[in-house]
């Protein structure tokens, strides 16, 4: 058993957790958040919504299934750091091509292992997600210096990050089989499985950069507009909010997820706020207020919309309802406009990682678009 270089995870409140270097050796800063999923680290690490975050895996054994060529949700690993307890020494899965450790190293992602991730999670639960840094090798120094570096790093509140992760150029994912519909998807940090699931339903997906104008959207003659997930503070997304209002005015069918839910909410006049530690996991219940049914969902958000379960409110586009909520804490999990064809959810119907309970939402989007024709 080789002994790795020492490493430290330092929180902005001065608390230090010690372990060994994992992945790349060096220094990194980001918001420390914990994710409770027991599977799907490859999807999580490549999810653009985790940009500028140091992710703490609560599941202790990480890397067991290695890294394969199929499960990336984007072209790269986006997390700024990875905190685990017990990394696998050898990966074991018929699809594995290399180890997680080597992939992190190859992509220069600084990680730390051997940390008491449960104590860390409890700390973040009580004190809230906060800035942090991982330091190893030559970057490992005295606590004050490291805390100073963390405190000098930018806050997540007020961070405008979607521009970092959006596609520079538009691209098209063709429909599988006959094309039934065309969707303009605004890429705020879209995951690969989202256009894949839409394509499987006969949708040709035009993925467009964040800075697209309504003209750019309309140029693809879409049957509907999709607002993706993405990183950062939704309060900074004025351009996307304005674009959404233009879509609503044109009564184009619209579906938003995660960040897209917050943007739709803002377009409808609602405020967002930063949650203490957010929802990050693949076991989160959501109740549909219309049916009372529960879906187990994949989630990854640190901000949420103001609102109460079932609340009906007036918007410039008619009435809207808080259609879904999380029974764990009654946070808003979905909106539905009653006078324009628009709805959104705070969770991830594309899952990856996570359960597929919410996948029928894409079918609802299809229905919405077909009805609007």
């Amino acid at each position: 058993m080789s002994v790795r270089e020492q490493a430290a995870l330092v929180l902005e409140d001065g608390r230090v957790f010690r372990g060994e270097a994992y992945g790349a050796v060096g220094a990194t800063v980001g918001e420390a958040v914990f994710c409770t999923g027991m599977t799907g680290y490859q999807e999580t690490l490549t999810d653009p919504s985790y940009h500028r975050q140091i992710v703490v895996a609560t599941a202790p054994q990480i890397g067991n299934t290695g890294w394969n060529d199929e499960d990336d949700e984007s072209a790269r690993i986006w997390v700024s750091g990875y905190v685990v307890r017990d990394p696998a020494r050898v990966p074991s899965n018929w699809r594995s091509r290399r180890s997680l450790d080597s992939e992190l190293e190859r992509q220069g992602v600084v990680g730390i292992s051997g940390v008491d991730t449960r104590t860390l999670t409890r700390h973040l639960r009580e004190r809230g997600a906060m800035r942090s840094g991982v330091f190893s090798g030559a970057e490992l120094s005295d606590v004050d210096t490291m805390v100073g570096r963390v405190q000098a790093s930018p806050q997540m509140a007020g961070a405008d990050l979607a521009g970092d992760v959006t596609t520079p150029e538009p691209y098209v994912i063709p429909a599988v089989g006959e094309r039934r519909l065309r969707v303009a998807a605004l890429d705020l940090g879209i995951k690969a499985n989202t256009p894949r699931l839409m394509a499987a339903r006969g949708i040709e997906v035009h993925v467009l950069p964040l800075k697209s104008t309504v003209e750019d959207l309309l140029a693809v003659s879409p049957d509907g507009v999709f607002l993706s997930n993405g990183p950062g503070d939704p309060a900074t997304m004025d351009h996307a909010v304005a674009l959404t209002r233009q879509v609503l005015e044109r009564r184009l069918p619209l579906f938003g997820i995660c960040f897209g839910n917050q943007i739709l909410g803002r377009a409808l006049g609602r405020e967002t706020y930063k949650m203490r530690y957010g929802h990050r996991g693949i076991n989160i219940p959501v109740i549909d207020t219309a049916t009372g049914k529960v879906a187990i969902t994949a989630q990854n958000h640190g901000f949420a919309l103001e609102g109460e379960p079932g609340e009906v409110f007036d918007t410039p586009y008619g009435s809207a309802v808080v259609s879904h909520y999380c029974p764990n804490d009654n946070t808003v999990e979905g909106l539905r406009c009653q006078d324009v064809p628009a709805f959104s959810v705070q969770y991830h119907p594309e899952a990856a990682a996570g359960p597929h309970d919410a996948a029928p939402l894409f079918d609802e989007f299809v229905t919405l678009m077909e009805q609007a024709r």
Binding site: F17, V90, T119, G354
Partner: protein, 1100 residues
């Protein structure tokens, strides 16, 4: 959707006696169900024949029927109680099969009773293999290719198509009974014919082999709003081919990506919907091809299962409790998660730890049985452990097993170990296969080689390889510094394991001293269902070693109430089962009521004691000295420990008593010194001598010559046993010098270090078992039980009656005087069990155990006195007088029961039909001084005959009321057998006998038919039995070994046909009483509450 308003009264069906494949997990689930239903304001009736369960405590139901779980008796219960609904999904396969039988007989319709949880159609779809396969295919998922066969011809035709090997699975059996894998045409013939016979519908499934595939299980729940959640995934470390009950398993799944896991989840959800389990839980098994990832669905249980109990303990999500709430109409989102207190039950638990379950086997109890692990479950129990990584959890589980080996390197390697031989051994599933994996790696095998030999996923093999590397570091390090020690502890190694590698540390104590000096101690984490996302309100803890200096312990301070730690009994095994858990749970309930904070320590996931709301705090930990000491330390840090109770959990905690006391732990109740006094033959012999209590003569020998000398002096027959084992292991009764020589020759370990004890055996004596309480001043006789078999059958295997049916007042007075002398002589503070033999009006003391015995729950139920509760209070200082004043104990005691008290009969349940020799023959069902039973039932009624008949019906199926009885008895028994056989003939039975027995019977005026002995060619008695032409067998053997082949064949044939096989004279007499009661036809059902009320009235 709120609770249904159309159900006011539910009948819960339990699972009956503990058998292999169906253990106390169903007491856990049934107890939860009863509790929930009553909390919801429903009337609960319960039927279960197992007295050792918590669920049959009278306070858990409104009407508790300790009656046989047969359609006939359950119908009587339904007729008496008229419930609105039956909940059969929490009582294992027994309850489910009974529900199906009630439906088929039209009983459910007749009384308008609804099956809740799963209806008949869902049960059929889940249980009928072909229907189930069709359903799986209809949702687009795969199953192994297969065909259902109803005859050997169909079996052969199917195999011609599929090719060998194939798996054989009989329909409607539990625990994989009768199933196996056939690699050759010969194996196919044998296994398929047995399978057809075992199946109640004469049907087997012949299936494509998925041997060596990765095996997984999902536990799912569904509510009536069609919400489905996955509670837990379980990965079997032993790949397909070994029954999941016999596999080492881990939760959560360790080697699946999210993509594969979600595919399995999707299919699981579609299956539960398509099968139509409306409300409640189910368990679905899957197999994955290790190279291609092809996934097939193996089977489902449309009910709560053993795996559900494991999943509940592994996640903190109480499946049975939630299933009961769903069954009466609630939906998941309406039920609160007890642990967080704020979030609903409509979520999927997530773990930030790893759980490992290891099965416990008992092959040593069944000489000749094939120890190869197959698709038929053979284990008798299991231990679970929780660690922060796999390695820690595995090592904790291995040291929880209560076996000689307490983890890797704690026993010397076999002498003949070679790499090639070790790899070869890995090819077959066997008890301790992970030890073999470790040895292979240590001998130089690569992870890949080991994986290829045994099919265990390389990830798991590598985890053990890491331990082998760590071992080399531990052996090679110049000094054991803090960093290395911490790494060893973080990997889960125990102090004794480290001590085995570092002799200079002078054993476990030396390692512990060093460890404490270096500050290397565990932290205690919490099982909270949510990986710390929400605060937990339930103190359900496990230990873990962290290397991070920021690590925190989560044991909260509690300084208002004194704490009492109760040490549980560990994994179920033969001789130590649910009865001890019952006593521990009672102690927890009573001490909590009396104002103590109760802290349970145990590692058995099947039990009620390891339910997080049984005690105030739960530590799911191995019951080793090291682990218990760390729990005591954690609890002392958080408050005041008033005492540790070791006398209720059986031998496991008792064995820790002295060392705990030496370490300054306040062991309450009977002192360790007193425990030692009872166990030390010399000291105990002195005690008996000074109290003028007779005991059988005995001596100790280190050679045949010595043993012969002693036997000649005290006279044959003698009871011989090794001096170094407990629980009757290796004990035999020998009747002559030749047998003695044979025994000594077999007991190869006899030496000056390992002497043999030779006791006079009291032939034809009546054995008496007593459970008593002593507070230092007074002795309370809880119950005096008279064994139905003569002395010589292990008390755990013999049936007994309470009140004693043939003992007179003077006998009882002698029992009282002797018990008082022993209790005071030993210095008992709590429970005491004494075994006596009464011969020629002399009461001999055989044995005394100053602890809760196996019979405590039986006695408590038969006499309506909570002995274990009283014992716990006495241990903490209450007197019998005080407990009488409180009303916990009645006036008088169990030796002066009212004259019209009901009679209770306890009968043991034996697992012989689950074992086969490697050649495929049955194993001998003969009883002896070594315990072999896995569980017990109780029959209770107003006469001995009725109670005995019930006990037989509950354990073996009903006694016959007509037909043919075969009688063959040893010469010494022939005279005693005349009367009962005469009675049977008078009752209309045709008597079959071998020539010798027939001669004696005819001389006494009993007409009988002579049948050939086994070795006398065609048409022998064995053929008759196997052909189903014999209804009952009475066969008493002579000695335990020797020329008894005939008896052996007869008994195994009886086991194979599942007909009563009586092996003692007194057993035959009891059977006659029972048969008379059955013929009279006046056997009804009576609730325990009504029987106990009558007892209390009789006392008042």
């Amino acid at each position: 959707m709120p609770k249904r308003t159309d159900i006011a009264h539910v009948l819960v069906i339990g699972s009956g006696p503990i058998v292999i494949g169906q253990a106390c997990e169903f007491d856990y689930s049934g107890t939860q169900a009863c509790r929930v239903l009553r909390e919801e304001g429903l009337r609960v009736s319960l039927v279960n024949s197992n007295p050792a369960t918590i669920m049959t405590d009278p306070e858990f139901a409104d009407a508790t029927y300790i009656e046989p779980i047969t359609p006939e008796f359950v119908e009587k219960v339904i007729a008496a109680e008229r419930p609105d609904a039956i909940l059969a999904t929490l009582g294992g396969q027994t309850a489910l099969n009974t529900a199906v039988a009630l439906h088929e007989r039209g009983v459910l319709d007749k009384y308008a009773v609804e099956l809740i949880g799963a209806d008949i159609d869902a049960i059929q779809r889940g249980e009928d293999r072909q229907l189930f396969k069709d359903i799986v295919r209809s949702i687009g998922a795969e199953v192994p290719r297969s065909s259902v066969c109803k005859s050997m011809e169909e079996v052969r035709a199917t195999v011609a198509e599929l090719g060998l090997p194939v798996v054989i699975r009989p329909s409607f059996t539990m625990g994989g009974l009768g199933s196996g894998m056939a690699h050759t045409p010969e194996e196919l013939e044998r296994l398929a014919s047995v399978g057809l016979a075992e199946s109640p519908v004469t049907e087997v499934l012949i299936e494509e082999s998925v041997l060596g595939w990765k095996e997984y299980e999902l536990e799912l729940m569904r509510d009536r709003n069609d919400n489905v959640v996955v509670i837990c995934s379980i990965e079997n470390i032993d790949p397909m081919g070994v029954h999941t009950g016999d596999s080492v398993t881990v939760a959560p799944a360790m080697t699946l990506t999210d993509r594969e896991f979600q595919h399995m989840r999707d299919v699981g959800i579609q299956v539960i919907r398509a099968v139509g389990v409306d409300t409640g839980g189910c368990n679905i098994q899957f197999a994955f091809h290790p190279q291609t990832g092809r996934m097939v669905v193996i089977e489902m249980n449309p009910r709560v299962s053993r795996s559900s109990a494991l999943a509940s303990k592994a996640t903190g999500f109480p499946i049975a409790k939630i299933a009961a709430k769903l069954a009466i109409g609630y939906t998941l989102d309406e039920i609160r998660n007890d642990i967080t207190g704020q979030t609903p039950a409509s979520f999927e638990p997530t773990l930030d730890y790893v759980v490992v379950k290891v099965p416990r086997f008992a092959f040593e109890k069944f000489p000749g049985a094939d120890p190869t692990l197959t698709t038929t479950m053979k284990s008798v129990g299991e231990a679970m452990s929780i660690g922060r990584n796999f390695s820690e959890a595995l090592n904790k589980a291995l040291r929880s097993m209560e076996t000689k080996a307490t983890g890797f390197w704690t026993r010397p390697d076999p002498d003949t170990t070679t790499l090639a031989g070790t790899l070869e051994a890995l090819r077959t599933g066997h008890d301790g296969r992970l030890y073999t994996v470790e040895r292979a790696l240590r001998l130089g095998a690569t992870v890949q080689q080991v994986h290829e030999a045994c099919g265990i996923d390389p990830w798991f093999v590598d985890q053990i390889a890491a331990l082998v590397e760590l071992r080399a570091e531990l052996v090679g390090a110049p000094v054991l510094d803090e960093a290395l020690l911490r790494r060893a502890k973080r990997a889960g190694l125990s102090d004794p394991q480290i001590a085995a590698l570092r002799p200079e540390l002078a054993g476990e104590d030396g390692v512990r001293t060093l460890r404490h000096r270096l500050g290397v101690r565990p932290v205690f984490k919490t099982v909270d269902t949510c990986a710390a996302e929400f605060a937990a309100h339930t103190p359900y803890h496990y230990s873990a070693y962290e290397s991070d200096p920021a690590a925190e312990s989560e044991v909260s301070a509690q300084r208002e109430r004194p704490k009492v730690l109760i040490l549980g009994s560990g994994p179920n095994r033969i001789g130590q089962g649910i009865e001890f858990d019952y006593s521990c749970v009672h102690a927890a309930m009573e001490l909590r009521r009396a104002g103590y904070e109760t802290v349970m320590v145990n590692c058995n996931p099947e039990t009620v004691s390891t339910d997080y709301d049984t005690s105030d705090r739960l530590y799911f930990e191995p019951l080793t000295f090291e682990d218990v000491l760390e729990v005591v330390h954690a609890e002392r840090t958080s408050g005041t420990v008033a005492g540790v109770i070791v006398q209720l959990g059986g031998q496991t905690p008792l064995g820790l008593a002295q060392r705990l006391a030496d370490a300054g732990v306040p062991v309450v109740g009977t002192s360790p010194e007193a425990i030692h006094l009872a166990e030390d033959r010399g000291a105990f012999g002195d005690l008996l001598t000074s109290a003028a209590l007779p005991a059988p003569k005995y001596g100790t020998a280190t050679s045949f010559a010595g043993a012969k000398r002693i036997a000649d002096e005290i006279g044959y027959p003698v009871l011989v046993r090794p001096s170094y084992v407990l629980g009757g292991r290796g004990m035999e009764i020998v009747y002559d010098e030749a047998s003695l020589a044979g025994y000594i020759a077999r007991a190869t370990e006899v030496s000056p270090e390992h002497p043999v004890l030779v006791d006079r055996f009291l032939d034809d004596a009546i054995e008496i078992d007593v459970d008593a309480l002593c507070d230092g001043t007074e002795v309370f006789l809880g119950g005096v039980m008279e064994h139905i078999e003569e002395a010589g059958i292990h008390s755990g295997d013999s049936s007994c009656a309470l009140p004693p049916i043939t003992l007179g007042r003077t006998d009882l007075d002698a029992v009282r005087r002797s018990t008082e002398a022993i209790a005071h002589g030993i210095g008992v503070r709590g429970l005491l069990n004494v075994q006596y033999a009464l011969k020629d009006d002399v009461l001999y003391v055989l044995e005394a155990n100053p602890r809760a015995s196996r019979t405590v729950p039986f006695v408590s139920k038969a006499t309506a006195v909570p002995l274990a509760k009283a014992a716990a209070r006495i241990a903490l200082g209450a007197s019998i007088a005080e407990l009488r004043a409180e009303g916990l104990l009645p006036a008088g005691d169990g030796a002066d029961l009212p004259a019209d008290s009901p009679v209770a009969v306890k009968e043991a349940v034996l697992p012989f039909h689950r074992f086969r020799t490697p050649e495929g023959h049955g194993v001998d069902s003969l009883l002896g001084p070594e315990m072999k039973s896995t569980g017990e039932v109780m029959g209770i009624d107003f006469s001995f005959g009725q109670a005995f008949a019930k006990s037989q019906t509950a354990s073996y199926g009903s006694l016959p009321t007509s037909g043919r009885v075969f009688v063959s008895v040893a010469n010494r028994d022939k005279r005693a057998m005349v009367f009962p056989v005469k009675r049977l003939a008078d009752l209309g039975f045709e008597v079959l006998a071998t020539s010798g027995t027939a001669e004696v019977l005819r001389r006494n005026g009993i007409a009988c038919t002579v049948v050939r002995k086994h070795f006398e060619g065609e048409g022998t008695i064995v053929d008759e039995i196997l052909a189903g032409r014999v209804e009952m067998v009475i066969n008493t053997p002579y000695g335990n070994h020797g020329p008894r082949v005939d008896g052996y064949e007869i008994r195994t044939a009886a086991v194979a046909r599942d007909i009563p096989c009586i092996t003692t004279v007194s057993g035959a007499a009891a059977a006659v009483h029972g048969i008379e009661a059955l013929i009279r036809g006046d056997i009804g059902v009576r609730s325990l509450q009504s029987l106990q009320e009558r007892l209390r009235d009789g006392r008042a």
